[in-house]
């Protein structure tokens, strides 16, 4: 009898091990985000952020420094950019874009040595990006982008959009003084070390009735890295490059349309990105610059910096 009961219990045990699954979140999230970067469970459990009312009243400035590691005058421009940024902490953000007018080209300031198999070879770090080349090409004519180094201040000033470093501080100061804020931006993010994945969430508020079309772009910026640099004919092997533009978070140089045509005051738009931090770079070594610009004039209405 004991054997019989044992046999019966075995049968019950075998079947009980194959019971059933309970799906906690049955609905698949419809999103263009890379849901595999979320490593804390099913993506349905993802902690979407909520945004508070944005009380910011200041228009920030993006200083784009178009540079190159073989450009002898570029370190001085980079120093000027850094000085302006530090003088206006939290209001001015710098992106060092390694691109030339018309895009990069072989033999130019942004070029990389042909054979870098020998560790002693210099200028092997490739700072170029498809987006940077796109900007160089787009602004090669009609915007005063004639050579490196040149920079833009919120891409304003129309045909004088690009200027030498000597004019940057004046333009920045004028714009800060004017402080014409039309758009506010907030950002929140979640980072998952297991996948090196970042979910960046942007909330954009249009503060005024605007005409025209607008887009949002997010730059991925590496805080600093040490690599070769020509400085007025002197080769610097351990030059500290700052705010290096790694590309756009979604590889879209011109970003994505936001707010529709002629957005009205009070319009709020949520934008979400997923991004994998490149190999060899840690999460605390990068930050994001998100800006909204006028599609026709390219002028940046607002930019914010977000660190992980």
């Amino acid at each position: 009898m004991k054997k019989n009961i044992l046999f019966a219990l075995t049968l019950v045990l075998v079947l009980s091990t194959v019971s059933c699954d309970k799906v906690k979140y049955p609905v698949k999230v419809v999103t263009e985000l890379d849901t595999t970067l979320f490593t804390d469970g099913q993506f349905a459990e993802y902690p979407w952020p909520t945004f508070e009312v944005n009380t910011n009243s200041d228009r920030n400035i993006l200083l784009e420094d178009y540079t190159g590691h073989k450009c002898p005058n570029c370190p001085a421009a980079a120093t000027e950019a850094a000085n302006i940024e530090s003088a206006n902490n939290g209001r001015v953000f710098v992106a060092s874009i390694h691109a030339a007018s018309g895009g990069s080209y072989t033999g130019g300031f942004q070029s990389v040595s042909a054979d870098c198999s020998d560790p002693s070879t210099v200028f092997c770090h490739d700072f170029r990006t498809p987006e940077g080349e796109e900007y160089g090409s787009q602004f090669s004519s009609g915007y005063n982008f004639t050579f490196n180094p040149k920079g833009t201040i919120n891409r304003a000033f129309g045909t004088d959009m690009f200027s030498k470093k000597d004019y940057w501080a004046g333009k920045v100061n004028d714009m800060l003084a004017e402080n014409d804020l039309n758009v506010n931006i907030q950002a929140k993010s979640n980072y998952y070390a297991a996948s090196k994945g970042v979910y960046l969430h942007i909330s954009t508020d249009f503060l005024e009735d605007l005409s025209g079309d607008y887009s949002m772009t997010t730059y991925v910026i590496q805080n600093s890295l040490i690599a070769d640099q020509d400085s007025v004919g002197v080769h610097l092997h351990h030059y500290h490059h700052h705010n290096v533009f790694l590309g756009c978070i979604d590889a879209q140089a011109w970003g994505q349309s936001i707010g529709g045509t002629s957005p009205t005051a009070g319009t709020n738009v949520k934008t979400d990105y997923s991004y994998v931090i490149p190999t060899g770079i840690e999460a605390n070594e990068i930050h994001f610059l998100t800006y909204v610009y006028n599609v026709e004039t390219y002028e940046i209405l607002q930019v914010i910096k977000h660190e992980l």
């Binding site: 009898m1 019989n4 009961i5 046999f7 019966a8 049968l11 019950v12 075998v14 079947l15 009980s16 194959v18 019971s19 059933c20 699954d21 309970k22 799906v23 979140y25 049955p26 609905v27 698949k28 419809v30 099913q42 349905a44």
Partner: protein, 559 residues
């Protein structure tokens, strides 16, 4: 229609053969048994009734079971042919091959079967594997089954395998999904003779079934393992009994339920009383979201793991059986049925010389109440239902009364009245409400049947049926006459006539004649005529049958 019943009975016997030979072999040693059934049709087109001639003109289904048994061992196989299949079967049925094979061993405590098998737990609401060949339904399991009887009155059954889906190019096709189940039942009358000296008996049981399939869906995360489980109990005292079963199905999103993640539930209660000349049966059923298939995308009669018991009378008379038959709704229904069988004693004023049998039956199926106050769309809980929480929306109602009386030694008569209310919108998806009464077809059916024994070998039976309705396609009449020359021959002619069709050109006759000859354990029958398209149901399970016109030859034999 009685002719069809005879065919039906022979088909229902098949599974019994597969298991019945086991005990026979145990007693008498080596034994080989079997049976065969072949249905051949030569069909022609008929544009009026919508019959289409198949490209092959002739079609044939054939089934042959061969069983061998020796002491506790038995093995067998079923050879099947679809060359090509008869109309109404899925097109995936084709070729010749073995569609069922098994080997089993049995002794007093354990039965073990490998290969194909049929089985049922309780009322079937958690698990039922069975064949209904006339419906094209066969969800035989292929795998392993064990029955274990540790002591008198106790039985444990376990099944593990895949479900038959199709028979294509002569090969059996099973589900991707695997079904595992266990059932235990304890009969206290036999269990240590606990109620041996009592008029009271108690039986309890429980079952657990789980299916596994890595099912995917573009919008939802389907569970891979889905469980159904339940308990049951039967109490009997003298001539009275009451039994009930309640089952629960866990998250099982499917095509049937619109990918909801609610739990399903089913409750079946039956109470009965019987004594000489009187029988009463009352039943109630509450069911919601209990379709349970080996593949959540399966449809129609494919890959069912469980079964929804039908609480409506299975009619045999032609018009009642074929025009508005009710199919049980596993996705949700509340159903109630009461049946009274009474024999008015013989040699009384009412009962006559031989007595008179009266049967009254009423069944009602209703739409369950769905509550939408606590829905959770993020969890895909789109409604809530409660056991026996019902609306007044009727799926189907059926009242019928039949009186049978033997007039004298030669003549028997039967009179039957049926009143149907059938929801043509909810059940058949009718969109044209022009000929419906608020979505319903309400009909009254009268049947008069007489059987006269002409001589010791010759008898004649006739039926006159009338269905009267203002809805759908109007009134119908059926006339049937059957002549039997015992024990070899029978002949029958039947005409189903839609004389009340609102469209004059659609007032069609469906005339069919048949003749059969029995020799030894074999029978051959020829049928020629028209069969209307419609829904064919057995035990609450239905399938659509196309219109046919032509010759059907049926051969059955057993050895």
């Amino acid at each position: 229609m009685k002719l069809n019943l005879t065919i039906l009975k022979s088909k229902l016997i098949l599974p019994i053969f597969l298991t019945g030979t086991l005990s026979f072999g145990q007693t008498f040693g080596p034994n080989v048994t079997g049976n065969t059934e072949t249905i051949f049709q030569y069909l022609t087109g008929d544009t009026l009734i919508g019959a289409v001639q198949p490209e092959s003109k002739a079609v044939m289904n054939s089934y042959t079971n061969v069983n061998y048994s020796l002491k506790g061992f038995s093995a067998g196989a079923r050879f099947e042919s679809y060359l090509p299949h008869t109309l109404g079967y899925p097109d995936r049925y084709s070729g010749t091959g073995i569609g069922y094979k098994y080997a089993s061993y049995s002794h007093s405590m354990v039965d073990v079967t490998v290969g194909n098998f049929y089985e049922q737990f309780g009322s079937g609401m958690t698990f039922r594997s069975y064949e209904e060949r006339t419906l094209g339904l066969d969800n035989a399991m292929e795998g392993f089954k064990v029955k274990f009887r540790p002591t008198n009155g106790a039985e444990i059954k376990a099944v593990y395998g895949k479900v038959r889906y199709s028979f294509t190019d002569g090969k059996l096709v099973n589900s991707d999904g695997v079904v595992r189940g266990i059932d235990a039942e304890l009969n206290f009358k036999e269990f240590y003779n606990l109620f041996a000296d009592s008029k009271f008996n108690l039986t309890i049981g429980g079952s657990f079934v789980s299916k596994y399939q890595q099912a995917t869906h573009p919008d939802f995360y389907y569970p891979s393992n889905v469980a159904t489980y339940g308990g049951r109990m039967k109490l009997a005292y003298k001539d009275f009994y009451i039994e009930g079963e309640h089952v629960i199905k866990e998250q099982d999103p499917s095509s049937d339920n619109g990918s909801i993640f609610s739990y399903g539930h089913g409750t079946l209660i039956t109470a009965g009383y019987s004594q000489k000349g009187l029988g009463v049966v009352l039943q109630a059923k509450s069911m919601d979201n209990m379709s349970y298939r080996a593949d959540p995308g399966a449809e129609l009669t494919d890959l069912n793991i469980n079964f929804s018991p039908a609480l409506s009378k299975t009619h045999t008379y032609n018009l009642a059986a074929t025009l508005y038959p009710y199919a049980a709704q596993p996705n949700g229904e509340m159903a109630f049925q009461g049946t009274l069988l009474y024999k008015i004693p013989k040699k009384t004023k009412l009962g006559g010389k031989y007595g008179t049998n009266v049967s009254v039956n009423y069944s009602l199926a209703l739409n369950p109440m769905k509550h939408y106050s606590d829905v959770d769309s993020t969890q895909r809980i789109l409604y809530q239902t409660n056991v026996f929480d019902v609306t007044d929306s009727v799926f189907n109602s059926d009242f019928n009364i039949q009186i049978k009386r033997k007039i004298n030694k030669k003549l028997k008569v039967s009179l039957m009245y049926m009143k149907f209310k059938y929801n043509n919108i909810l059940l058949d998806g009718a969109t044209d409400k022009t000929n419906l009464d608020n979505g319903y077809v309400k009909s009254d059916i009268f049947v008069l049947e007489g059987q006269y024994k002409i001589s010791r070998k010759h008898s004649i039976r006739a039926e006159v049926q009338g269905l009267f309705t203002k809805e759908d396609v109007g009134n119908w009449g059926t006339f049937l006459v059957e002549y039997n020359i015992s024990p070899k021959w029978f002949f029958a002619v039947m005409d189903q006539y839609n004389y009340g069709n609102p469209v004059e050109g659609r007032r069609l006759h469906y005339l069919i004649g048949s003749a059969g000859y029995l020799f030894g354990n074999s029978r051959v029958m020829a049928t020629y005529g028209k069969q209307r398209a419609g829904i064919f149901c057995i035990g609450g399970v239905c399938r659509t049958v196309p219109a046919t016109n032509g010759l059907t030859l049926t051969f059955t034999s057993s050895f």
